[in-house]
């Protein structure tokens, strides 16, 4: 038998007497690994699905798109794309938003209209009900998303009105390749033949349409080179190109971000599990003091003894990892359900062996990492303990403890960097966790010190005794406060964030507008306002919207910048921003909820200079690379308008009110081509539906949006996201409970001994129970309140700096949460001590 084998054999034998508490270790690792495997496997499945279906997501090999009809020059360039590719096909699609209604039905709804040429999409199958309708789409026909037909109460065969066009509904579209669930809830689609777009009469001045050409290039073409060659010239014509590879990369990036975020959430569960490992190993070492001392007496080196328990922790960690991998793979089937609105509909879950393998490795690694600290103590157990019970292990020297802490920190950093996709994210994560633990440690130490100095003698006996237990030798105050407080902190942070994000989006019952009419033409304004007034509602001021583009920035034309950037030159300003249409407004006063962060708002009636003033939203100004004093020349439907930035604003986007990147003073834009938005409140849903319907008939180009409905959609999506977050948080809760149980097990012997002594000295079971309850209620109160306070701080920082939004504290939910933590701790503490109440003193003494 070799010496290593001795350690292995001993490690196995040593599990015999402690299987119950070692089960905690296995469970703690299993929960963490389950979270990681489920999340990694899910992310891998999504990636694989995207990979295999990327073509159908795009529907083509190459897409050219523009916000205005292709110019003659653009057309020439586009036709040259197919030169040299035999069998190449092109399908054009024009898409725009329009009000739709079924004739003879009361409801009208804003929909996305896609007017398409035959062939589109080139890849992927469209499923319709009745089947086969897609390829038979003929002039005068329309296909619609099922959701739209439901809202309009329309049936197959009914007549659908879009602007001036009247179309027969031939089928409902069940599944469109590459669809993501959320998409249809926000903008249900109508598919019509290409020529129908003009027949609606809605593509006039001020309309917002997107013009696209989809290319199928079956011959092996070097797409990247083709795109590279044509991009600069097309950019000048404001046409952008998207390829399959780019699309795939974008989706992968987005999915990667989601995966990494979820991965960090999973890592939190694993770290909590790690704390469970640490406390289980610590408890085990405490229970094995005699055994270790005897082994040392019999000639075992400290390395041999440490190896015994390290092998044990590793083995159990691996066992936990295997269980976790099995559990995680099963749970992976649940995640697509939770995230179904955010992933492509054709998603197929599959077992990911990489996820399982990496989960196993991470689990064993974390188990070893967290076992290391408590195992260092093994070397400090004097063999003399075998002779004398009162000999206690020596504390590890500070250098050793420092090294252990360093190893742990480095381990967490490495795992977080892998999971978060970068050292920076990993470092921020590690630093955040480190700070939270440090603060928890400070709070627990302070409480302990305070109790030691000043425990009021006026307290009743059980309270005095229970609280004193928190600072007596061999107490578990720090371990429990750290683990439980950390768990409470994570969960409460989720609570605070939910509260703040939902509050932003929830429309209070107050007099906020709940109906928006937009695309109102100047000559329709009077009529629309009159129609609104006739329902008894008071329309707010009509907000003008003037579409414009940037012509030049600080003297450099954007066309020049775009061409350079398309040719590969690095540009500080993102190309999409230079290409995009700015829907700007003009007004005398600063909008509600806006804050000037630089420069100053114009004074009404000030003499107008040669160039106009403009106020930019702060973030867009940053992206454009301009600040107060810089010059921007705008292209307002062909007319150039020079301007100078005089102020930067911070806008609260989440409010249901129009926000603008660029706002001008009244005057210069009064005569520009423009449309108006009118917001107002109409309490009754029925009144809203009737008004929308009458609007559609009289002003077909005016779009109406029922904000209450949007609100409901947003809330249902958010509640599903909340659910997803909660399910993941449950992993942390489960790990936290195990940690608590582990900490209780660690101090079990001390508590039993004390309880027996108390009972022997005449304490009733009731009194003993109250001592235990007092101790754990105090621990729970400490953990709950520090956790909640930390969460308030973290939540404030995240809301303020990450979401850039106003922060409010959900006081009552947090108080309830802290009370819950306290109750749970006291309950678990009492449950863990029930042995003390059940058995007689003598039984327990004999077992000692």
């Amino acid at each position: 038998m070799t010496r290593a084998r001795f350690a292995l054999v001993m490690a196995w034998r040593e599990t015999r007497g402690a299987r119950r508490s070692l089960l905690l270790l296995v469970g703690a690792v299993a929960i963490g690994v389950a979270a990681l495997v489920a999340i990694r496997g899910f992310a891998a499945s999504v990636r694989a699905s995207v990979q295999s279906q990327a073509r159908s997501v795009l529907g083509a090999d190459l897409v050219a798109g523009s916000a205005r009809p292709f110019s003659t020059a653009a057309e020439t360039l586009l036709s040259s794309l197919t030169v040299g590719s035999r069998g190449a096909q092109v399908a054009r699609v024009t898409s725009f938003a329009a009000m739709t209604h079924a004739e003879g039905k009361p409801d009208a709804r804003l929909a996305q209209v896609l007017a398409l040429e035959p062939g589109y999409p080139f890849y992927g199958d469209v499923t319709t009900e009745p089947p086969g309708a897609w390829s038979r789409l003929a002039p005068g026909d329309a296909l619609a998303d099922e959701a739209l037909l439901v809202t309009l109460d329309a049936r197959i065969g009914d007549t659908l009105a879009i602007g001036a066009a009247r179309l027969r509904i031939r089928a409902a579209v069940r599944n469109f390749p590459g669809d993501i669930g959320v998409r249809t809830s926000f903008g249900p689609r109508v598919f019509v033949p290409f020529a129908t777009a003009q027949a609606t009469g809605l593509l006039g001045v001020g309309s917002r349409a997107r013009y696209e050409a989809f290319f199928r290039l079956p011959e092996p073409v070097d797409l990247a080179r083709l795109v590279e060659r044509h991009r600069p010239a097309l950019a000048v014509e404001r046409v952008s190109l998207r390829t399959l590879a780019e699309d795939q990369r974008r989706i992968n990036d987005n999915m990667g971000r989601l995966g990494r975020y979820l991965g960090l959430v999973g890592l939190v569960a694993l770290l909590l599990g790690g704390i469970g490992v640490a406390s289980a190993v610590h408890a085990l070492v405490r229970r094995r003091l005699e055994t270790i001392a005897v082994l040392r007496c019999l000639g075992a080196s400290s390395r041999q003894v440490t190896a015994v328990y390290l092998f044990q922790a590793l083995g159990l960690g691996l066992l936990g990892s295997v269980l976790g991998a099995v559990l995680g793979s099963a749970l992976q089937a649940l995640l697509p359900y939770l995230f179904r609105d955010f992933i492509p509909a054709d998603f197929r879950a599959q077992v990911s062996w990489t996820a399982i393998a990496s989960g196993l490795l991470t689990g064993a690694y974390a188990a070893a990492l967290f076992a290391l600290g408590p195992l260092l103590g093994v070397r400090r157990i004097p063999p003399l303990r075998a002779l004398r019970r009162d000999v206690e292990p020596l504390p590890s020297p500070p250098r050793e403890r420092g090294l252990a802490a360093l190893a742990l920190g480095a381990g967490v950093l490495s795992m977080a960097s892998l999971e978060g996709g970068g050292v920076l994210v990993g470092a921020a994560f590690t630093a955040g966790i480190g700070t939270a633990l440090l603060l928890l440690w400070l709070a627990a130490s302070t409480l302990r010190a305070m109790l030691r100095r000043a425990l009021s003698p006026r307290l009743s006996y059980p309270w005095r005794q229970g609280l004193a237990n928190l600072h007596r030798p061999a107490n578990q105050t720090l371990a429990i406060a750290l683990t439980l407080g950390f768990g409470a902190f994570l969960l409460a942070t989720v609570l605070v964030l939910q509260h703040n994000l939902l509050r932003e989006l929830r429309v209070p019952d107050g007099p906020r507008p709940n109906l928006a009419l937009f695309d109102v033409q100047p000559d329709q304004l009077e009529g629309v306002v009159r129609a609104v007034r006739s329902t008894g509602a008071e329309p707010g001021e009509a907000v003008p919207i003037v579409p414009m583009r940037i012509h030049s920035l600080k003297g450099v034309p954007t066309s020049q910048k775009l061409a350079q950037s398309a040719a590969g030159a690095r540009q500080p300003t993102p190309p999409w921003l230079m290409r995009r249409e700015f829907r700007s407004s003009y007004r005398a006063d600063k909008g509600a909820g806006e804050e000037i962060v630089a420069g100053s708002w114009w004074t009404p009636g000030a003499p107008s200079a040669r160039e106009t003033e403009v106020s930019l939203e702060a973030d867009v100004a940053k992206d454009l690379g301009v600040t107060v004093g810089d010059e921007i020349v705008w292209d307002v439907q062909g007319v150039l308008l020079p301007s100078r930035v005089t102020s930067l604003r911070r806008v609260e986007w989440a409010r249901f009110q129009p926000g603008f990147f660029a706002v001008f003073p009244k005057g210069p834009l009064d005569q520009a081509p423009q449309t108006f938005v009118i917001l107002f409140r109409l309490a009754e849903a029925g009144d809203r539906a009737r008004l929308i319907r009458s609007m559609v008939e009289r002003f077909p180009n005016v779009s109406a949006l029922d904000l209450a409905e949007v609100q409901r959609t947003v809330e249902s999506l958010l509640s599903r996201l909340e659910w997803a977050v909660r399910v993941l948080a449950m992993f942390s809760v489960a790990a936290g409970c195990l940690v608590l149980l582990g900490a209780l097990a660690a101090s079990r012997f001390e508590r039993l001994r004390e309880a027996v002594l108390l009972k022997t000295l005449g304490a009733t079971r009731r009194q003993v129970a109250r001592v235990v309850l007092a101790e754990y209620a105090a621990l729970g109160a400490l953990a709950g309140s520090t956790g909640v306070l930390l969460a308030a701080g973290a939540g404030w920082a995240i809301v303020r700096f990450l979401f850039r939004s106003a922060f409010t504290l959900p006081v009552l939910p947090l108080l309830l949460f802290a009370a819950g933590v306290m109750t749970l701790t006291a309950a678990l503490g009492a449950a863990g001590s029930r042995e003390v109440f059940r058995r007689t003193s003598l039984e327990l003494l004999r077992n000692e």
């Binding site: 038998m1 034998r13 075998a386 002779l387």
Partner: protein, 225 residues
């Protein structure tokens, strides 16, 4: 075999150093049988711990088989114990998670040997061949101490330390255990150091060192029987 020179030990108590052993000097030849006696708190167990290298002395030195324990680090001392020393404790100190046989095997396994046959032989020698698969909790006190004896002799130690081996046993069982121990010791020819407060037990030793207040008050060698 054992050389003990000007040995002294102190313990910290309430921030003050409390002397528990002062100026202990003796030598013990190989094959000797020494009993260390004295009232509770006289420093017997402390002395035993120092002789076995379980603790470092405050002053003086212990030399075992020509090896100065003071020159060895913690692990080297453990290796020395593994090679040369056997232990019998007052509270038996069997490892609760191991069966009787596995307990006896431990010293051999630590040296990288299997020792199954040796363990069975020794268990038979102490009359527990039928209890080999039992855990300590399933054995009586006397049986546990016999297993401990088997463990102490399993690695054929040159030196055996016994700390109040009968302290937790009734008189009759204690006598059996002592008989067995003395017999095994005679067979193996090991040096035996026994700590006890039982004068009757001490009489069986060839040499008795009496401690009081941490000092040697008498050192008597009995006539060879």
């Amino acid at each position: 075999m054992i050389l003990c020179e000007k040995l002294g030990q102190t313990y910290l108590s309430g921030g003050r150093e409390l002397p528990v052993l002062q100026d202990i000097n003796f030598t013990l030849a190989a094959g000797g049988f020494l009993a260390i006696v004295g009232p509770s708190g006289s420093g017997k167990s402390t002395l035993l711990g120092l002789l076995a290298g379980l603790d470092r002395p405050r002053s003086g030195r212990v030399v075992i088989d020509g090896q100065d324990l003071g020159a060895l680090d913690e692990d080297a001392r453990a290796r020395l114990r593994g090679e040369k020393v056997g232990f019998v404790f007052q509270s038996f100190q069997l490892i609760p998670t191991l069966t009787a046989k596995e307990n006896v095997q431990v010293p051999l396994e630590l040296r990288g040997q299997g020792g199954e046959a040796r363990a069975e032989e020794l268990l038979a020698r102490v009359g527990l061949q039928d209890r080999a698969g039992h855990y300590p909790a399933q054995l009586s006190g006397g049986e546990q101490q016999r297993v401990a004896l088997a463990r102490a002799f399993s690695s054929r130690p040159r030196l055996l330390f016994a700390d109040e081996p009968t302290g937790n046993l009734d008189a009759a069982t204690g006598a059996t255990v002592i008989d067995l121990m003395v017999e095994l010791n005679r067979e193996s020819g090991a040096t035996l150091v026994l700590v006890t407060h039982d004068p009757e037990l001490a009489q069986r030793a060839r040499r008795v060192i009496r401690l009081q207040g941490g000092r040697v008050v008498s050192d008597a060698t009995a006539a060879v029987s």
